[in-house]
């Protein structure tokens, strides 16, 4: 991932951006855990709220694919469906793990 480009987009330097990415990794892992809890308890509202949080944070940093995935989860949960969430969670976790600031 081109951190320099993303940092430029936000009018930040790479160091500042890296700090935010580290924070994003932490908060998104926490949010993903909440999504997982929502799925296991059959609580779409909890899953939706956590997915909403991931969507906003990912979008703010320019991680559009992660924001799109979170958007799909939020929309599905809002309509009461938690189908396919295991795959979404795995996909997002993989992307979060890959975010190692350079």
């Amino acid at each position: 991932m081109d951190y320099k480009h993303l940092a430029d987009q936000l009018d930040m330097d790479e160091t500042e951006f890296s700090e935010l990415v580290t924070l994003f990794v932490d908060t998104t892992r926490t949010d993903l855990e909440k999504v997982r809890q929502g799925v296991s308890c059959g609580d779409p509202r909890q899953a939706s709220a956590a997915a909403h949080s991931i969507k906003g944070a990912a979008g703010n940093l320019g991680f559009t694919q992660m924001a799109d995935l979170a958007q799909k989860m939020e929309s599905a949960a809002n309509s009461g469906s938690l189908e396919g969430f295991d795959a979404y969670i795995t996909d997002l976790e993989t992307r979060v793990d890959a975010l190692t600031p350079t």
């Binding site: 009018d11 930040m12 924001a67």
Partner: protein
């Protein structure tokens, strides 16, 4: 050089990343940032720190943004702080609800730090301009009140007029007005008026009335002619919805004659040294409304020591008690009589203390003149 106090912004969002982004982008531009991870914490910080602006997320666990802004606007400590919503919601009804609750703007997530900065700047400027406008207007109103008070004559400046006065405006710019005019060495004019409305326009108009009285209350004109002249000019200069009720008492201490011109005003009270007190109830049209206004005129022969009370409707009218002018004034006659034991300078103040308890507040402006022959 003294350091300027930084502008302060409170950001409330349950996502720590969003808070940090806002903190980074605004603090490097010189703003001091407070952050809160939920609505309740946000309200506590808003009360304690009184930030210049609040950025508030809508979707949060616990109190959501709508509940938070509602409470902020209900709280006198925080209700003037501008609030900008941060939201991923694009539903127009949700946005309108936010504006309805008092938000000044929205920033849609995902947000760009420079957009946050730009919106924070513009709303701080607006807030500063609004506050400055409010302070400016308050200062002007104070000047008007001071000018209005300075226009009202005090008894010690007119010893020959032998009068006492009580004047109290409910608001900074009162609707009541009085003046005392030295028409000649032995003729004095006493004018009490009540404007419709209690606004700044009213206060400026009192200056015009004062000038009109000086020009028209002269030995050249009879009291009725003086009021006719004043009415003719007022008809031309007053805004459409403005008028005034007035009472003009013309006292000639040489011929010992009192002439009272009534223009839609409550009756004056006469307290002769000998005989019973009575109301001078001549009726007349209000001032400033009709070109062909008719004014009730009463002429009375007076004796040394006779007293007159001229006052505005705030003294005799009570909406709460449904009292009209005549009934209210009749009830006052015995009270006026009891005041004979006090000097005419003291009488108006004693009257007010008698009528209104220490903590009760009159429903209208009040002016009372006590005039002694």
């Amino acid at each position: 050089m003294e350091k300027m106090q930084p502008y302060t912004v409170l950001a409330v969002d349950d996502n720590l990343l969003n808070l940090k982004m806002i903190e980074k982008s605004l603090s490097r531009e010189g703003y001091q940032i407070f952050i809160a991870g939920n609505g309740s914490e946000g309200r506590t910080i808003a009360r304690e720190k009184h930030p210049d602006l609040i950025l508030l997320d809508i979707e949060m666990p616990g109190e959501n943004g709508f509940e938070v802004i509602k409470k902020l606007k209900e709280d006198a400590v925080t209700n003037l702080i501008p609030v900008i919503f941060l939201t991923g919601i694009s539903d127009v009804n949700a946005k309108l609800k936010g504006f309805d609750l008092g938000a000044v703007d929205y920033i849609t997530k995902p947000f760009h730090p420079l957009e946050v900065l730009a919106r924070v700047r513009i709303h701080l400027k607006l807030s500063i301009a609004t506050n400055s406008l409010i302070q400016d207007q308050a200062a002007k109103l104070l000047q008007v009140a001071e000018a209005q008070t300075a226009m009202l004559p005090v008894p010690k400046s007119f010893p020959a007029a032998r009068f006492g006065v009580y004047y109290k405006a409910l608001e900074e710019a009162g609707g009541d007005f009085y003046d005392v005019l030295n028409i000649s060495d032995f003729i004095t004019g006493y004018f009490v008026a009540d404007f419709s409305g209690h606004d700044i326009k009213t206060s400026y108009l009192t200056a015009s009335i004062k000038a009109l009285l000086v020009q028209n209350c002269t030995p050249l004109y009879s009291p009725r002619e003086s009021m006719k002249m004043v009415n003719a000019v007022l008809k031309k200069i007053l805004p459409q919805e403005k008028y005034l009720t007035a009472c003009y008492l013309h006292l000639n201490r040489s011929t010992m004659t009192m002439t009272l011109v009534n223009a839609g005003h409550p009756p004056a009270a006469c307290l002769p040294v000998q005989g019973d007190a009575f109301l001078v109830k001549s009726q007349g049209d209000i001032l400033g409304m009709f070109s062909d206004a008719h004014f009730g005129v009463t002429r009375i022969k007076v004796s040394r020591g006779d007293r007159f009370f001229v006052y505005s409707d705030g003294l005799v009218e009570s909406v709460g008690k449904k009292t009209n002018w005549i009934a209210g004034a009749r009830k006052l006659l015995p009270v006026f009589k009891d005041l004979q034991q006090f000097s005419c300078a003291e009488a108006p103040g004693r009257l007010i203390r008698h009528l209104f308890a220490e903590n009760s507040r009159p429903e209208d402006d009040i002016v009372v003149l006590c005039i002694e022959v």
